[in-house]
């Protein structure tokens, strides 16, 4: 068994680092990330698993995995030159990545293996706010969320369950943070900018409040997620987190427009 597992969900707006740099850590956004960071630091993780969707930085349509894991000792980013986000070298846990790859394949989840990665903002923004000293190694896990056809949400929920078994069976003694990166409702570059689907956010936040995390997946068809915005598939990262956690309400939940800040503390 891992010694402790903390679950976290946060958004990754590429403008957020600059906004908080300008407005300060006491700004509303700064406080939202700060409240999550305090809980993460209290859990003292020695590994951060990030569930994320690649934003065309590593994968293009020519070669686009549904599930992928990083097996490498470090990566640099964010790669997107136009984004005003500090650049970091990030240590990654190569052994944990390799072990997760084998475990996933053995459990019927055919993950692609990435021995080189370029960090994008969806991976970096959560790390920038949550582990700003970049002193905790990272295990990046990619779930296809922006380029339909998307994996079925129930499959992703089961993927999260597989991640839980991996943590329990293969990460003995480790202290693990699992971070889902992304929004529930957001339109980027599409016809409905800026889009917000309060009804759908209410479904997701309501399920979290009652602890019925597994109830989201059966409602999250591709069409329903994309109704909530063209990057609505980022919800799949949260659904994987839900599968990892099992049904229970978060210890901290701050809904904020098309996304939320949430923490499930170790128990």
């Amino acid at each position: 068994m891992a010694e402790a597992v903390i679950g976290i969900g946060v958004p990754h707006g590429p403008m957020y680092p600059q906004l908080v740099a300008e407005q300060g850590p006491e700004s509303a956004l700064g406080r939202r990330y700060g409240a999550v960071r305090e809980r993460l630091e209290a859990a003292a993780p020695d590994l951060v698993v990030v569930l994320t969707a690649d934003h065309f930085v590593n994968f293009f349509f020519d070669n686009l995995p549904t599930f992928a894991v990083g097996i490498l000792d470090h990566a640099h980013g964010p790669h997107e030159r136009h984004m005003r986000i500090p650049r970091y070298d990030v240590e990654m846990d190569e052994a944990a990545g390799a072990a997760f790859h084998s475990f996933g394949i053995d459990q019927g989840f055919d993950l692609a293996a990435c021995h080189e990665l370029r960090i994008d903002h969806a991976l970096m923004v959560p790390l920038h706010f949550l582990t700003p000293r970049m002193d905790v190694p990272v295990l990046p896990v990619y779930i296809r969320g922006l380029q339909p056809p998307l994996p079925r949400a129930e499959r992703v929920l089961a993927f999260g369950g597989m991640l839980r078994r991996f943590i329990d069976e293969r990460l003995a003694g480790r202290r693990v943070a699992v971070v889902a990166s992304g929004s529930f409702s957001l339109e980027v570059g599409g016809p409905r900018i800026p889009w917000l689907d309060p009804e759908w956010c209410g479904v997701v936040n309501g399920a979290m409040q009652t602890g019925a995390l597994a109830s989201v997946a059966p409602q999250a068809s591709t069409e329903r997620m994309l109704q909530a915005g063209n990057v609505g598939g980022e919800l799949l990262n949260w659904i994987a987190l839900f599968g990892m956690l099992g049904d229970r309400p978060p210890d901290h939940l701050e809904p904020d427009g098309g996304h939320s800040f949430a923490v499930w503390e170790p128990r």
Partner: protein, 90 residues
């Protein structure tokens, strides 16, 4: 199916630093190298991002055109035009 090539060109703007310059210097000549249909080439030249979206362009990648100031696009013009397209939910 050439939607792939629409997206490949847009994605190329972040991968190939010279592509934007080549498109600015000689739009027709550069577009001719990408295996696009006449309709697709015309949509690029007109900066018609709504048409490119209907033809299968991914909005995330179409935005790269405005970021590089190509085909008369900037952020405002891009948003004005993309909003005329019907959202795709598949």
């Amino acid at each position: 199916m050439t939607a792939y090539r629409i997206n490949r060109l847009c994605w190329g703007l972040d991968e190939d630093e010279d592509l934007a310059e080549r498109l600015l210097a000689d739009p027709a000549g550069e577009l001719a190298r990408w295996g696009l249909t006449a309709e697709e080439r015309a949509a690029f030249v007109a900066g018609d991002v709504a048409a490119l979206y209907r033809l299968g362009g991914h909005p995330f990648l179409l935005q790269y055109l405005s970021r590089h100031g190509l085909f008369g696009l900037n952020r405002d013009v891009y948003q004005q035009r993309i909003k005329t397209a019907a959202p795709q939910l598949q």
